[in-house]
């Protein structure tokens, strides 16, 4: 391999020039001739029968083109499907009409769509659609929803239970029989709202002459959108093109195929006009998926010395009113299988009950199931440490899966790929100067100050994933990915990825991979993504998979190109391919640098094909369809240091240290950025964010005024460091880093606050740790 400084270097992002000059094109920037605009009438009730809809006033309003109701879509637009049918769980999949037909099930459920000549006219006319509702009883709490007599959302789903799923391994009963100490805790992992700063938008255009539907969507996975839209609309998949242009953040919320995308597409066909839908922020709070929302009862069995023997418990996972695209898989496969964390815990028995309630559907939000698992495990481990008066660092060390034990099969059956948990912990302890901090803390406590330190030693499952496993766990798709490397006659390259980055910087990192492999200048490589017409196939960007899976496909495609180029070079240099070495972007006869051809020379000759070796086809272009043999398991140690204001209960994050191991790093600048952003979101769950419904199912936190996403002022700078343990499951040793910050940080902060309050006898506080909540725990003067 050529010596190169590109792979592993903190290369500046090639995405940035268009973004910092305002020249990027996001979905809402797309304008087409004769464009009409759709706006949705949404239910103000969380649960009601629709008794009458009168659209006549809206229809005759100025500028209005058409008004459709759910009834108008019956037989024309199929229900919104769920695409993760988890097995052995008695999963119920009630129909989810794109627009409600006779019953609304959450505030924000669409009841009509208005198309007009301008967005303002469409919006104005939504107020003229007269809908009469007969309100029904409402349930928003998932545990209460399963109880006898609770309001029923779907006629075919008794007790609102969508599924009951269990992850079991080892002998839990024996573990609890052998326990010298048990820890039991109820944990509320509150509902969150993703809040990508760009809302969801769609522009749909239909050409009746060709039968082609082009849909521009704020999507994390255009091929999945195309597939699902074909199912919903009954259109052939090859007649649909989905484009994800610049996408302004997703965090999971733009994975899913939503009703509005299907309705806009349907209207574009029906009305023979391009249709645009622009979600406003208020709608985003109601109609875009939420995340988390678990009620968990968890129990740990341990010996007095801190050895953990088993874990058991149950989670009620709130799924909202309907099953969103990936909803059933999030609290099960991506959560319940990770309940032993980085520890050698031989037995687990964990049930997850998925429940329908009169709330916005819940699905993947950054981390998606893994933050909830990490939070639960890391809180319980701290509670155990407190109970047996062991240092939280020591209890972790005692139970870590040792470096020598990888690959390691955990109680749930997953096989962790590689790890060195002690190394990351050691580095973090050094960075925070742990022993010194404890002395400072003791001194501060003497003065009545509340200083705390919290640890989160996490491991997560990502790089989704082997397709055979996806199938076995009911995911209705593959999880391989595709790359194509095409070298043009002039030696410039266009490479294509089936992943769909939207802020993660893979245009840069994938160019680094190809530049490293082929010796091409970085600027000679164009990375194309986000368009089903340009990219053969791919499964998109989520689950920290793009680099581990898509990047692996990219390097394999580049290596195929290199092999073909070597054969052509050998032919042109009149040598045998075995005698050709690749040095600094040139193919040369071993030991004879003057007999060489550059990759650009070969590209020209391959494309001209005047003099090809026998049996070698013209052109220099190769594809790879990479299906990993396993998931990857990034890990690390995060440490939060907090101080609590004794007068106000405000938690101040004094320091935050993140030591992550995401395998081999391609671009440290980008990796650090992913950690910073992830940590901000995880810290925000610990301290500020919560989606709150009242008993009537009204979302009380329905705007940025009421829902507290962090500003620059409340966050500290984040200290990052890394260890590098390659993954054995892909050719570059990559893991993933898109979600680690969010997965790790929440329990670190909560553990720190509980540590600060420990002298007051506080053992647990549910999130978010708002000043009021903390103030009530403090002694009053």
């Amino acid at each position: 391999m050529a010596v190169s400084k590109i792979f592993g270097a903190a290369v500046k992002r090639r995405e940035d020039p268009r973004l910092i000059t305002g020249r990027a094109t996001y979905t809402d920037d797309v304008k087409l001739p004769n464009l009409a605009y759709v706006a949705f009438v949404r239910s103000p009730h969380a649960h009601a029968r629709i008794t009458r809809i009168d659209v006549s006033r809206a229809q005759s309003a100025p500028g209005v083109v058409a008004v459709v109701t759910g009834q108008d879509l019956v037989g024309k637009v199929n229900g919104i499907p769920t695409a993760w049918l988890i097995p052995n769980s008695d999963l119920k999949t009630p129909t989810h009409p794109a627009i409600a037909v006779d019953t609304v099930r959450y505030v924000g459920d669409a009841v009509a769509a208005v198309v007009a000549e301008s967005r303002a006219a469409a919006s104005d006319a939504t107020e003229l659609v007269d809908v009469e509702y007969d309100p029904l009883p409402v349930v928003v709490d998932q545990e209460k929803a399963t109880q006898p007599g609770a309001p029923q959302l779907h006629p075919d789903v008794p007790n609102n239970v969508a599924f009951r799923w269990t992850a079991k391994g080892g002998d839990v009963d024996a573990a609890f029989r052998a326990a010298e100490v048990t820890i039991k805790q109820r944990l509320i992992n509150q509902r969150l709202i993703p809040n990508a700063i760009e809302t969801r938008n769609t522009v749909a255009q239909y050409n009746p002459g060709t039968g082609d539907l082009t849909v521009t969507i704020t999507s994390q996975n255009p091929h999945i959108h195309r597939f699902l839209l074909s199912v919903i609309l009954g259109l052939p998949e090859h007649r649909i093109r989905v484009v994800a242009p610049e996408v302004g953040g997703g965090f999971g919320s733009k994975i899913h195929c939503y009703p509005e995308e299907a309705v806009a597409s349907f209207l574009a066909i029906q009305l023979d006009r391009p249709i645009k839908w622009t979600e406003d922020r208020r709608e985003n709070y109601l109609a875009t998926i939420h995340g988390r929302d678990h009620i968990t009862d968890l129990e740990l069995a341990a010996k007095r010395d801190g050895t953990i023997l088993g874990i058991r418990g149950r989670t009620y996972a709130n799924l909202g009113a309907y099953l969103s695209t990936a909803a059933p898989g999030i609290p099960t496969i991506l959560h319940g299988l990770m309940m032993t964390g980085p520890y050698q815990i031989a037995a687990q028995d964990y049930e997850v009950v998925g429940v329908f309630t009169n709330t916005t559907p819940v699905d993947a939000y950054r981390g998606a199931g893994r933050p909830e698992a990490t939070y639960a495990v890391e809180r319980l481990v701290d509670l155990l440490a407190a109970e047996i008066k062991l240092d939280p660092v020591e209890i972790r060390r005692k139970n870590f899966i040792p470096k020598s034990a990888f690959p390691h099969t955990v109680a749930s059956g997953l096989v962790y790929d590689s790890g060195d948990y002690d190394a990351a912990l050691d580095k973090a302890l050094q960075m925070v100067n742990y022993q010194q901090f404890r002395s400072e803390q003791a001194a501060a406590r003497q003065k009545g100050r509340y200083l705390g330190i919290g640890f989160s030693t996490y491991v997560e499952i990502c790089g989704l994933g082997p397709s055979a496993v996806a199938g076995a766990v009911g995911f209705q798709g593959g999880l391989w990915d595709n790359a194509n490397v095409r070298i043009h006659p002039s030696g410039k390259a266009t490479v294509f990825t089936g992943t769909s980055p939207h802020g993660q910087g893979e245009e840069t990192t994938f160019a680094q991979i190809v530049a490293e492999e082929l010796g091409l200048p970085l600027d000679d490589i164009e990375v194309v993504h986000g368009d089903t017409a340009r990219i053969a196939m791919g499964w998109g960007t989520y689950g920290s998979r793009s680099t581990a899976v898509g990047g692996s496909a990219m390097v394999l495609a580049a290596r195929k190109v290199k092999e073909k180029a070597r054969i052509i070079a050998a032919h042109l240099l009149e040598a045998s391919p075995e005698d050709i070495e690749f040095v600094n972007g040139r193919f040369q006869v071993k030991g004879v640098p003057e007999r060489s051809k550059s990759i650009q020379d070969i590209a020209l000759m391959a494309n001209l094909a005047w003099n090809m070796p026998k049996g070698i086809e013209p052109g220099l272009e190769e594809s790879s369809f990479f299906d990993p043999s396993n998931f990857v398991y990034p890990f690390g140690t995060h440490v939060a240091i907090v101080e609590i204001d004794p007068g106000t209960g405000v938690v101040k994050l004094v320091r935050y240290v993140a030591v992550d191991d995401c395998g081999i790093v391609i671009n440290p600048k980008i990796v650090d950025g992913q950690v910073h952003g992830g940590v901000a979101q995880g810290v925000a769950q610990a301290l500020w964010e919560a989606a709150v419904y009242d008993a009537n199912g009204q979302l009380l936190t329905g705007s940025l005024m009421d829902y507290a996403i962090p500003t620059a002022e409340v966050l500290p700078s984040i200290e990052t460091a890394r260890t590098e343990t390659p993954s054995p499951v892909n050719p570059l040793g990559l893991k993933g880093v898109g979600e680690t910050g969010t997965i790790a940080s929440t329990p670190a902060v909560v553990n720190a606050v509980v540590d600060a309050l420990a002298p007051l006898g506080v053992r647990h506080v549910d999130m978010p740790l708002t000043p009021e909540k903390i103030w009530r725990l403090l002694p009053k003067a």
Partner: protein
């Protein structure tokens, strides 16, 4: 309809607009300058921040008619003759953006900050940009980007051309 005459990025536009038209919609929809973004409907996010007569303003809080006679700068007008403004350069150098959606507004807020306070402390930077929400970066590298730009502006160096 009301008549407005507004200078945007040095060019004066004459338009008849609805009195209820927000400045941000005027800039995006009437002028086609889509670098200015809309992230909320309650003036919280700051994605629509522009400079009106040199002062950073959330363009969703102003009607187009209120901007009549003013001179506005949007993100498209910040670089001069292909030279990035030092603040733009700082965001690129320090990886101060990921998805880029909040970035134009964030950059214009920072331009104003550095005009008022050429050498801000970290706390002052964080305070100055608290009206601009970013969901990607955790603000860490945005702070570094501002520090980079401050240094660059103070050194009086001509911003280097884009690499």
């Amino acid at each position: 309809m009301s008549h407005v005459s507004i200078t945007v990025n040095g060019k004066t536009y004459q338009n008849d607009v609805e009195p209820r038209l927000l400045l941000v919609h005027y800039v995006r929809d009437v002028l086609g300058l889509t670098g200015t973004h809309i992230g909320c409907d309650t003036s919280q996010c700051g994605a629509c921040t522009v400079l009106i007569d040199g002062e950073s303003v959330k363009a969703c809080t102003v009607f187009a008619v209120q901007a009549n006679g003013t001179s506005i700068k949007t993100i498209e007008g910040l670089a001069t003759n292909g030279q990035l403004h030092p603040v733009q350069e700082g965001f690129w150098e320090e990886h101060g953006l990921q998805c880029g959606f909040c970035t134009p507004g964030m950059i214009l807020s920072v331009v104003q900050l550095l005009e008022r306070n050429p050498d801000p402390s970290e706390a002052e930077i964080r305070h100055a940009i608290e009206g601009n929400l970013c969901r990607c970066t955790g603000y860490h590298n945005i702070v570094k980007a501002v520090q980079y730009a401050a240094k660059k502006l103070q050194s009086g160096a001509v911003p280097s051309a884009a690499r």
